[in-house]
Amino acid sequence: MAQLLYGGAGVVLFALGLWAFLVYTPLLRKLIALNIMGSGVFHLLIAIAERGELPPDPVPHALVLTGIVVAVSATALALAMGRRLEEDEGGR
Amino acid sequence: MSLESLLPVSILLSSLLPGVFIFLVKEESHILRGVLNMAGALIKLLLVGVMIWGVYRGEVYETRLTLAPGLDLVLAADALSVLFVTLSTVLWLVTTIYAIGYLEHSPNRSRFFGFFSLCVSATVGIALAGNLLSFVIFYEILTLATYPLVAHRGTPDATRGAKIYLAYTMSGGVLLLVGAIWLQAITGPVDFTQGGYLGVLSEGLHGPLVAVFLLLLAGLGVKAAIVPLHGWLPQSMVAPAPVSALLHAVAVVKAGAFGILRVVYDVYGVGLADQLGLLTLLGILASTTIIYGSIRALSQDGLKKRLAYSTVSQVSYIALGASILGPIATIGGMVHLVHQGIMKITLFFCAGNYAETLGVHNVSQMDGVGRRMPLTTLAFSVGALGMIGIPPIAGFVTKWYLGLGAVEADAHWVLLVLAASSLLNAAYFLPILYRAWFRPEPDSWPKESLPQGRFETMGALLWPPLITAALCLIAGLFAAAPFSPLEWAELIARREYL
């Protein structure tokens, strides 16, 4: 039940992020939306690592760590590109 | 690999490889380019000579390359392919000489001769194709290789003509492709077989077979310029004269006509084609085209346009021959493959000479050209009279056999078509001859370029029409000699009607 609660929260986060990504145009909002989607998936993965009394499954934990670094990298590049565009527009 | 399996592919490569190298030749290296051209043409002639002798004795030459399971690229020599290969090889040699002279000072010659060689390679590939897949492959390559030749001059007219040419041939190409694929889906991979290979199929498949035939005929009919698919041919007249000669006599229209022969004789077989009613359809289409082309030719003032409509008309004799059941008509159709080629190429060479030397492009400007250019006009006259069917020129032999075949098959309406067509031929050719020989020449020719020697024009332009005109006479006079086109066509017919 706890799994479903936390996993379900992940799904809701994913859906919220997706909705925001599709609806809003500004780069920052889209990026935040993507990160929320990512958090939703990570949430789900952490939730299913839980196994009641036993120690949790470490594999999803590691996947989430990897996923976070990937998400950070992508966000950084997108931000840099967005800033570059802003500078160009400001320079005109 | 044995010699037998190498010969067909060598014949193909003898023009393909020079073609590739010609592209790389620097524009100003005339001599290297000329050497490549002529070496390719002569080597091909030699190899074809070997092949004629071998096929006559019953040798089997076949190159086979598996492209994919069930899809073999087959180059094989049977009597019919040898007929077409020989025609294109001999005429390529002559046309190359002519083109070298004709394009002496024009731009982009590396490109021109490169595609020229590719075009002949594709034609030879069509001739040697041993199954429908190989035929389609070379048929499409021919389209690709001729497009640059039609567009060569680069004028808006040329671009437009090339576009129309491409639109027709590409559309035809996809129909042919679908037909070929459908047929292969029905039969599996089968090579061309003398006497056809579809006769063994059950009657339940006759519906699809008719549909496939219509698709194939539509695809082939575009190149063979069967009405109403002929629209590209007069438009592509903007191409340089050697290209027109090649398109009309050797490569494109012939490829279409040859394809129809292949489909009727070596895929369906005359028996099945007749049983399905396909021969009647073909006969009606061919007759319509013959009459329609001749009528349109009457009203053309442009010399090349008149010749173009004449081609539309004359090529369908080949299909007409195929549409009449019986060996004699078959012989007539087959032999016309060669006869139309040598006669029409003569006419186009001469038209090119008039245009190049005197600036004469229209029939109405041709008054007295016979006095100014007697040898060219002599060659032209031989070609034109042959087209009308005057003995002893080659065209007469064709019409004689077609007529006999029609009588034998009780298809008397064909005689009417032949008679009407001959009258029309006379009506559009004789006025030209009259103007050329009997009208006084005008005070000055437009844009006349002075001849540089004893002859009326450059040697490279004069000899090719004289040679081909001589061939027209020889083919007619010595029709019964061994290895004449007629004798060879009889050999084919014997093998097809075994």
């Binding site: 859906a15 909705w19 949790p56 499954d57 470490p58 590691a62 670094v69 950070v72 990298s73 840099a80 | -």
Partner: protein, 226 residues
């Protein structure tokens, strides 16, 4: 119009969410088993580390981590290719400067601790690298244009260090006949530590350099000359 589109999207996303909730429930019911936990714990002694997450990251699924470090590097390369960095912030005032002198060493120290502890307790290269990166961010905020990093030429070597050590260890183990990234028994703890150390430095440098946001522009660096 726009709001109507938003409404349609909202409805679609809502339906998707409901559907997914049901699917997640179904999936949890199907997969009630132990998943990979038992195998992961069973393999622990052979990995040389006792923290199972570190074992997954550096041993079982080390290849993923290798590529993930490459992703980080790629992001920085992309940022560098976009142009020069913006100039730094103005130098910090006395109070901020005082905090910086306190916080930065602490961050570095904490990073070192996390790196070491990762072998047997939660922690490891990413957490440590993130702290180092944070130290860089703090320094840039306090007016250090380069976020405390060495010149570009040296930065280049630092940012590749993580992937480089990782992949070279992989190739070396392969050369020794054990297969790519298959650490020999007994060596694995030290190899993992070496990889994690290099990764920590690379992650910290990369994050700080990414925060700088472009090639450091005040230096005549090598890349602009050739």
């Amino acid at each position: 119009m726009k709001s109507a589109g938003g409404l349609v999207i909202g409805a679609f996303v809502l339906l998707l969410a409901i559907w997914l909730l049901w699917v997640v429930q179904t999936a949890i019911d199907i997969g009630a088993g132990p998943r990979l936990a038992e195998q992961a714990f069973a393999g622990l002694p052979a990995t040389g580390v006792s923290n199972p997450v570190t074992a997954v990251l550096l041993s079982y699924r080390g290849y993923d981590t290798l590529l993930e470090l490459a992703v980080l590097l790629a992001a920085l390369l992309g940022i560098w290719s976009l142009g020069a960095a913006s100039p730094g912030f103005q130098a910090a005032g006395a109070v901020l400067q005082g905090m910086v002198t306190l916080v930065v060493p602490l961050l570095i120290l904490a990073g070192g601790y996390l790196l070491w502890v990762g072998g047997h307790a939660p922690g490891g290269a990413f957490q440590a690298g993130a702290l180092l990166g944070a130290a860089g961010v703090v320094m840039r905020l306090a007016g250090d244009e380069r976020a405390g990093l060495p010149p570009l030429a040296a930065q280049r070597w630092l940012v590749v260090a993580g992937v480089a050590v990782f992949v070279l260890v992989g190739i070396a183990t392969m050369g020794l006949g054990a297969g790519f990234l298959a650490y020999p028994i007994g060596w694995s703890k030290w190899l993992i530590l070496a990889i994690e150390t290099a990764a920590t430095v690379a992650i910290g440098t990369t994050l700080a350099a990414a925060y700088v946001g472009g090639r450091p522009w005040s230096h005549a660096d090598v890349s602009g000359q050739s």
